[in-house]
Symmetry: C2
Subunit: 531 residues, 2 copies
């Protein structure tokens, strides 16, 4: 297994309290206690009712490479000068040889309370893995879910490009953003390094500075091609009754077409989209087509994108109908690509869908990469069992109550092939089986119960890491994970996926796990004495 | 100069369109044109009227290490198979030997339109630096500003700890988050690797799992210390009329006190803060004090933090007044530390200040590290001059209009030592001087002008990188930058810093730069023909 993509992902990437706690365990002789930790979240992000689990691959690489260097130990020792020197000897040789991880497949749809990862191993080591594991799945899960929501908003036929590198929270906020957006349903990224590291398709054309760097037609070499462009510009000006378009912009488009004769896509909003950019684009597009080269299209980066896309499309169609050239087949107004960028978010896509638009490709920056609608996923990592004894944390806030003990999750599938609910059962309970009637209990409300007779049952928790060794499952490619995510989304009932008032997908407990939880809860909750 | 902290920061960490654009420049023979790029932002984040410029140090490391490897070139060639092979030869040997960077000192307060960085050099190279430079200053500036706002909310005496690692957007979102929070005014971080890499103080105690891992007093070794703890617990129970506190929690506190006898800080909300956590803390605190060891305090992590802090403080004071031990001087109810964490944001601190609280230390996670209130900074990088010719981008949106041409910024300081406004002048104009009356113009409104006679003038743009070589200025330590930021904040008028309706700080143009901008704007803006 490869090391983590980012060399900064290592044992020392943790909260100080993990080290001080582990010293406490070590001093109390508890560091080798058998522990079980659940990694889970309590609420789906973005007001939705689903999430896409992501980050498992990098999380496993981190676990597999876990260990402190001499230098790390020296640093920690300097911070904790009063600790027993033997502790540092022990810490220096810690590894993950006794760690086992069960996880839901990366790219799966996941829901609150069913842990995407369950970590088994010695208390001390398991504890020290917490912070980095959360870091490595929280943001990936958040952005894969965000990307999936963009995909659902845009529909299956639109092309979605991540362009968030410059606005991301740090360099690998950008890299993991590109990767997990792709897994969530994007088609490409602008991020060249992400393309190289992960094999994601990369896309890019030019920026405004390319346009403004050309002042006039004197900035480019004159040849017959330029003559033809000027010829077509005149025709287009007449056709649409326009004044002169910007010469610097036209020069830039010509320069770009010379560089990418088969990939001419022009950014048209530097001066004025409909009065300069689109006419200039068309002038070059006609000249290219005349030479047998098919132009690609335009990018809009400001203004009312839906309106401008419709107006641009109309201009394409009108110009192509009116201005006759040879190779007409290379120009089709309905086929020219219209890409749009500039502050695009999920809501904006829904709004544009309602008002109608002609956009084929969305370039999404800030709102996707930083998950502006909710920039953090509240995933947690909790000790649920120690030496066979379940652990519970009572809270006045019901949502914060832990589901104690070792357990496994099963997705119960209905006749229509769609998931009905996720069922958690205690370790050792018989597994639910297709065709069998199963009582499924709401975790907290004893009166909310349902009988489910599933047509199929999917065992959710698969062993990805066994006693320090990654299993076969850990070899999935990014393409496989992306496909899995898209299949998962397609399998879910639409009312769970919708933006407005989505139906919560249920996670239920077996009767036995329900009783176990509530017995323990009663035993631990203090009873007030009033008088 | 060291390489970037994150090895993933390299030339390939860029948008694809930078490469395609540069190919366009190269094909047009423009790649060596003399270019000037301004890096700036248009609006301060968080609805405020100031920002703290940060990220310059890492940005310079990136520029200084810029270059493509053979492997990088192979990757790009694969993506652009139709490009001229000579282009890749040129690209392989590009470097930043002709790049010069003027910048405002890192840690300075900065305002819209005055560029924190100005990049001079060949068009092709300057263009390729854009994306990574923005990535390396956008989030740092955002989070340094966010941290400064937390500091202003909490006041100068509170201790602020970054605890955001698990919720950060990627591993170095967390690392740079820790660093730039510290620069913005935080005192410490929980992030051990950030501590090691940047020399930031690190802090940490224990989590709920430490508490829940102890089931009862049988989990710890019994000795005289435990006897004394139990003795004090009984006294405390009687004093406050409480039922039995949680034994597992008490065992955990004893174990933690044994590990950190001089650093006993207990997380008190696992079962019930006032009925179990605080009494258990006090029992251990008394037993420690009796042995001559000074306990530190408690951490609250749920519930109404302001209320619980006040109640806890009252219990400390009452218990210490009522239960007499030797070494009483080691226990002072007003001196025991109360730390609070759990979803703390700027608004919550202001609200707690209003209702009154006894919190000494704030542990801030999600809201600081992800800048939840506004997770992205809209910093941009624009070509403003090429071969001595100013570049302008017209926009229907006034805020998006570029200030064209080479220019420098000056901060005009008033009699009271506080900044009055920032003045941008065109290259070659005489510099403003103390005691001289200067006409300062609003960039867009010709009727908004003011005469300023500054008592002092600060030249804002300092050379940090000259023709491929970092200058002396680039050697500032993190401590120096942090101190500079705190001095800068202290120098600013309070009405610029406040949360509600802050007064905008002005960036003005010299008369000559104003006229230059508006002449150019008129020349480039298309005039519609209506009939």
């Amino acid at each position: 297994m490869k090391p983590p993509t980012n060399p900064l992902v290592r044992a020392l990437l943790t909260d100080m309290y993990q080290i001080t706690m582990v010293y406490g365990y070590w001093k109390a002789g508890k560091h080798n206690d058998d522990a079980v930790f659940d990694q889970f979240f309590r609420e789906c992000p973005f007001g939705g009712e689903f999430a896409i689990f992501a980050g498992l691959g990098e999380a496993l690489k981190y676990v597999n490479s876990f260990g402190f260097s001499d230098d790390d130990i020296e640093y920690i020792r300097g911070e904790l000068p009063d600790c027993d020197p033997d502790f540092f000897k022990w810490l220096r040789q810690t590894n993950t040889d006794e760690i086992t991880i069960h996880a839901i497949h990366e790219g799966s749809v996941v829901f609150p309370r069913t842990p995407p990862m369950i970590i088994y191993g010695p208390l001390g080591i398991g504890q020290m893995l917490e912070t980095a594991l959360l870091n490595l799945v929280n943001y990936p899960t958040l952005i894969a879910t965000n990307a999936a929501r963009f995909r659902l908003a845009a529909g299956p036929k639109k092309f979605l490009i991540d362009m968030g590198l410059r606005r991301a929270q740090g360099p690998d906020g950008a890299l993991s953003g590109a990767l997990y957006s792709y897994i969530g349903g994007f088609d490409a990224t602008s991020n060249v390094l992400a393309g190289k590291l992960f094999g994601i398709p990369i896309k890019g054309t030019h920026a405004h500075s390319f346009v403004t760097s050309f002042a006039s037609l004197d900035d480019i070499e004159h040849d017959e091609f330029v003559e033809r462009v000027l010829f077509f510009r005149e025709k287009i000006q007449k056709l649409f009754g326009l004044g002169k378009t910007n010469d610097g912009e036209l020069a830039a488009f010509i320069a770009y077409a010379r560089a990418f004769p088969k990939g001419f896509l022009a950014l048209v909003d530097t001066y004025n989209t409909l009065k300069s950019g689109v006419p200039n684009f068309l002038a070059v597009a006609f000249a290219l087509a005349e030479k047998g080269l098919k132009p690609v299209g335009i990018r809009l980066d400001s203004g009312d994108l839906a309106h401008l896309s419709k107006e641009s499309r109309k201009m394409f169609i009108t110009a192509i109908a009116e201005i006759l050239i040879k190779n007409t087949l290379l120009l089709d107004g309905n086929d020219l690509l219209i890409a749009a960028s500039n502050d695009i978010n999920e809501g904006a896509i829904h709004a544009m869908n309602q008002q109608g638009h002609e956009i084929d490709t969305f370039g999404v920056g800030t709102h996707n990469i930083t998950c502006q609608a909710q920039p953090a996923m509240g995933g947690v990592y909790k000790l649920v069992e120690i030496n066979g004894r379940p652990c519970i944390k009572i809270s006045e806030n019901q949502i914060k109550i832990l589901l104690p003990g070792k357990k496994t999750g099963h997705r119960l599938i209905g006749k229509d092939g769609r998931p009905i609910l996720d069922l958690l059962i205690a370790d050792g309970e018989p597994e639910p089986r297709p065709g069998e009637r199963i009582l499924c209990c709401h975790p907290f409300d004893q009166h909310k119960r349902v009988y489910v007779t599933p047509s199929a049952v999917r065992h959710l928790h698969i062993c990805y890491y066994r006693n320090g060794v990654p299993t076969e499952e850990a070899n999935k490619s990014i393409a496989e994970i992306r496909e899995h995510a898209q299949r998962e989304l397609a399998s879910l009932r639409e009312d769970h996926l919708r933006t407005t008032n989505p139906t919560p997908y249920k996670t239920a407990l077996s009767e036995s796990l329900f009783n176990y939880l509530h017995k323990l809860w009663s035993a631990e909750a203090p009873i007030d004495e009033l008088s």
